[in-house]
């Protein structure tokens, strides 16, 4: 205990004084290094990348940044005006274009809150991998930025289209994708880090959701568009785009896109339409849960067979046909079988398209075999390109209909 205070009071006071002086020096000399003033930042919500249409340079980069004073609702000081603005510059690299923007921006572009990257169709055909390096390399930019491909419009147009539901267009597009993924499952979110991971694993091709403009694409960059009940133009989610080695190869149809979601187990909730068993009209089943399992197996001829097992669970939510006694247990099984068929159709469609026509391993079958049947993979590793289209699959869907909603019998007679 006596050794706790070996120094005299005076010495201690001196040391404390010196430390205080040093602290003061630290505070005064480093002058708030790396301090960023919040009101000197311009928050970039979305980036858009197109090929330079003039052809002089490689890229035409658009930044959608927030005008916070307009965007924050309920702010008394808010002036009338748009919530966002865009800056566009060309450059051979992204960074070049971004730095060129300092000729126009009075504030520093701040990328930490960027949530959306839109890549123009043409730029995507040239390859998306080079466009992602900046995002992955730079610590200030998040890796969980959602990537979309602009279909039928340039990324610049997409970002310059005013939206009604959300004053910030980037948010509207991002949220649309999120809602679609959770409620329909036609598209699913793909983030920069997902693409990077798949690119590094080299065994699975990437699919990226596409977005398009519905309406007059040129009318978007106007306040009027926002102030109409039905806007002249609004962004609309398209289907998934498939890529090969980072280069855009094509777009799926709605059916195929849905099938891809099924295959990759991205479906959380969706609706399936089917004909009524014994009459005209349709009925809808809402799928609440789906378990998807793909297992590879070696067949007699040495080629792999992929067993796809899909087990959705859902309830009948809409009946538009007469005389359907849904209160009968057997009827539910019948409906379940019909739903099986509907899902099978979607899945078959996408397998035909990707495996047979485009020869793209977007399902990750190669990776699946590599992970689960390494010996089999070793034998086909070298000529996977040629083996892949020949891989057979066994598709098995077994839907369980749990209930028919809060109504039993339908009023449709």
């Amino acid at each position: 205990m006596r050794n706790c205070l070996p120094l005299s009071f005076r010495r201690r006071a001196k040391i404390a004084g010196a430390v205080a002086l040093l602290l003061l020096a630290m505070v005064l000399l480093n002058s708030c290094w790396d301090l960023r003033y919040l009101d000197r930042l311009s928050v970039v919500m979305a980036m858009g990348i197109d090929s330079d249409p003039t052809g002089k340079q490689q890229l035409r980069v658009t930044m959608q940044t927030v005008l916070a004073q307009n965007a924050a609702a309920g702010n008394k000081l808010a002036a009338e005006g748009m919530a966002v603005t865009t800056f566009t510059e060309t450059g051979d690299t992204l960074f070049e274009a971004i730095r060129k923007m300092t000729r126009k921006t009075s504030r520093r572009l701040f990328f930490s809150h960027t949530r959306l990257l839109i890549i123009g169709e043409q730029a995507a055909r040239k390859g998306v991998y080079p466009l992602l390096d900046l995002i992955e390399r730079n610590p200030d930019i998040r890796g969980d930025i959602a990537v979309m491909i602009a279909r039928g419009a340039t990324a610049e147009q997409m970002l310059q289209t005013t939206t009604q539901m959300d004053a910030i267009p980037a948010n509207q597009m991002y949220d649309t994708l999120e809602i679609n993924e959770s409620a329909l499952g036609m598209d699913y979110m793909v983030r920069v880090q997902d693409i990077t991971r798949m690119a590094l694993q080299e065994k699975q091709q990437v699919a990226i959701p596409a977005i398009t403009l519905e309406g007059d694409a040129t009318a978007g960059n106007d306040e009027k568009n926002m102030k109409r009940i039905h806007p002249d133009v609004q962004p609309k989610l398209s289907t998934m785009a498939v890529l090969k080695e980072g280069k855009l190869k094509g777009f799926l149809t709605v059916k195929e896109s849905q099938g891809l979601s099924w295959m990759l187990s991205k479906v959380r909730s969706t609706v399936m339409k089917t004909n009524c068993p014994d009459s005209d009209g349709y009925l809808m089943v809402e799928i609440n849960d789906a378990k998807v399992k793909m297992t590879p197996r070696k067949s007699g001829d040495g080629l792999p067979i992929i067993k796809v097992d899909i087990r959705p669970e859902g309830s009948v939510k809409e009946i538009m046909c007469p005389d359907l006694p849904v209160d009968k247990e057997t009827e539910l099984d019948t409906i379940g079988k019909l739903i099986d068929k509907a899902i099978e159709e979607e899945v078959q469609a996408v397998i035909v398209k990707l495996q047979q026509k485009l020869k793209l391993d977007t399902f990750g079958w190669g990776r699946l075999i590599y992970m689960q049947k390494p010996s089999l993979w070793k034998s086909i590793d070298k000529d996977w390109e040629t083996v892949y289209p020949k891989v057979r699959h066994e598709l098995k869907v077994k839907t369980k209909i749990t209930d028919t909603g809060v109504r039993g019998e339908s009023i449709v007679k």
């Binding site: 404390a16 290094w33 919040l38 930042l41 000081l77 998040r142």
Partner: protein, 537 residues
């Protein structure tokens, strides 16, 4: 440790110090201390009056006592206001005048014995042999009886005068629990504790500290529970105190504390007898100082400063929740402004996007950088708080209105300070009031500025550096030689029952290992037996 410091001061005596010591000695009233009284009554009275500069609150009542063999001159001396004059009349003056003494007047010592043993009807009559004892007795509120021809005096107790009654404590109120609080009178305070612990093992030691104030200071502890080493350490430290006055227990606190350079209190003070009693039962030592309702407790742990008396009077689940809330809000009070400054100044990527946009919009056009803003507002708040505390209540209201209007509204509306800073400062202020002990709250107030400085220069990096240093500092602190961070460091796992959580009382069967040396068993009952009782049909 304390004696170390005294020694190191003594070792290197400069000329200046020697001069000072001489001066101190001259100022001391010690000259008469060992001086005996004169046998002549008139001489004694004269000396007493001249020593005290004929102060007119000293009453000298000269009496002539009748005895069977003749009369003897006597004097009754007391300080007006310190004695209960009615009781003095009843128990001292009346018997002395009406009951004749039997001894011969030529033998005053015998007369004095008779007075002491037979005639004077006061509870405590003692003989004062020198001037020091005489003055001590006089100023403690005793009446002195001097006899002619006797070179000693009698001090008979009849302490009285105006004192505050036992009231509900102002600093720590509890919704459930005893309502009484300590008062300024030492005897009342010791009695309040005795009324809680009716045990012969509750021991008391009294010392008189303060050259001029001669303040009675009392150490209370449970014999067999309190560590003898700690007790001896405390006695040494108290004996080493040499100061002219002890006006409040804070003097003692500051003089015996282990580390002088710390914002954290290492000695607990409280005005609730129940809190002191519970600490005594844990094996801690209480220091009572006359003239203040605040009783000190040593040794302490940081943890104790988060415990409120009420924790033990409410259900354990509720008490645990409240205690967690208290810890949480203390941390908030400490770091909230600095975290805000760090996040807004350095780590904007951490803020959820909608909130960031709101903040950017709010900061639009605000002239000061965020750290300056926070500094100014914190400072303004501290000034306001200080002003309100020192002002009379009536004026205080006016200040809070002006403060609320100026700061809460005008500053924001004028766009000089952004609203989030006001929110942060206001919320921090509220959280800082949650701490049950006032002096721990003050520590947070000071450290907040340090953290703010670190945050405004280095962001989170700075905050974590300061917090780390703080942790080191806390682990180094000692309270009367005992580690301050007990039972976390060093670790006493069994004592954790009463730290962040408050375990049910039937689970805390043992005293804190860290304090009580042996005799750990607090409750010796089988709780299963209690639970298993059949309901009465």
């Amino acid at each position: 440790m304390f004696s170390d410091y005294m020694l190191s001061r003594g070792r290197k005596k400069s000329k200046k110090q020697e001069d000072r010591e001489k001066e101190v000695q001259q100022n001391q009233l010690g000259d008469y201390e060992q001086e005996p009284l004169s046998p002549v009554l008139a001489a004694n009275i004269k000396q007493l009056q001249s020593e005290m500069g004929n102060s007119n609150d000293i009453v000298v009542r000269e009496l002539s006592l009748e005895g069977e063999g003749g009369s003897i001159e006597a004097a009754l001396i007391y300080v007006q206001g310190l004695v209960d004059e009615y009781r003095m009349n009843e128990s001292i003056i009346q018997p002395m005048l009406s009951v004749p003494f039997q001894a011969r007047p030529s033998d005053p010592a015998k007369v004095q014995d008779e007075l002491k043993n037979k005639i004077v009807a006061a509870g405590r009559v003692e003989e004062a042999k020198d001037w020091k004892k005489l003055f001590e007795g006089l100023f403690l509120g005793n009446a002195l009886i001097l006899l002619d021809g006797c070179n000693t005096a009698l001090t008979s107790s009849c302490v009285g005068g105006e004192r505050r009654a036992v009231e509900e404590p102002k600093t720590e109120t509890a919704i459930r629990g005893p309502r009484e609080g300590f008062v300024e009178a030492l005897r009342v305070n010791t009695a309040l504790i005795r009324r809680k612990i009716r045990s012969p093992k509750l021991w008391m030691e009294q010392k008189t500290i303060g050259r001029e104030t001669q303040t009675p200071v009392c150490i209370m502890y449970m014999k067999g529970l309190a560590s003898e080493d700690t007790l001896q350490d405390l006695r040494d430290r108290l004996d080493a105190i040499d100061i002219d006055g002890i006006l409040e227990s804070s003097y003692i606190e500051e003089l015996i504390t282990d580390q002088k350079w710390t914002p954290f209190p290492t000695i607990l003070n409280n005005e609730r007898p129940d809190v002191i009693a519970s600490n005594l039962l844990e094996g801690r030592i209480a220091i009572l100082v006359d003239g203040t309702p605040f009783v000190l407790v040593v040794p302490t742990e940081l943890n104790m400063f988060f415990q409120a008396a009420e924790d033990y009077y409410q259900r354990y689940d509720v008490a645990t929740f409240l205690r967690l809330l208290r810890f949480f809000s203390y941390v908030l009070a400490l770091v909230m402004p600095s975290v805000y400054v760090a996040v807004v100044g350095y780590h904007q990527e951490m803020i959820p996007t909608p909130l960031l946009l709101k903040l950017v919009a709010q900061r639009e056009g605000v002239p000061f950088p965020v750290y300056l803003e926070a500094f100014i507002m914190e400072l303004v708040f501290e000034i306001l708080r200080e002003a309100v505390v020192r002002m009379p209540t009536i004026v205080g209201n006016a200040i809070s209105i002006v403060g609320g209007m100026v700061i809460g509204q005008s500053v924001v509306e004028a766009g000089i300070v952004s609203p989030p800073v006001v929110i942060v400062v206001a919320f921090t202020a509220i959280t800082s009031f949650v701490s049950p002990t006032y002096n721990l709250g003050i520590a947070a107030r000071l450290l907040r500025f340090l953290l703010l400085m670190a945050a405004s220069t280095l962001g989170f990096y700075g905050i974590s550096i300061v917090l780390l240093l703080l942790l080191l500092h806390l682990s180094n602190l000692r309270s009367l030689g005992m580690p301050y961070m007990k039972p976390f460091s060093p670790m006493f796992r069994k004592d954790w029952k009463d730290t962040l959580l408050r375990a049910p009382i039937w689970m805390m069967k043992e005293r804190p290992q860290a304090i009580a040396v042996d005799n750990l068993v607090r409750a010796d009952m089988d709780t299963k037996e209690l639970e298993g009782q059949e309901p009465v049909q």
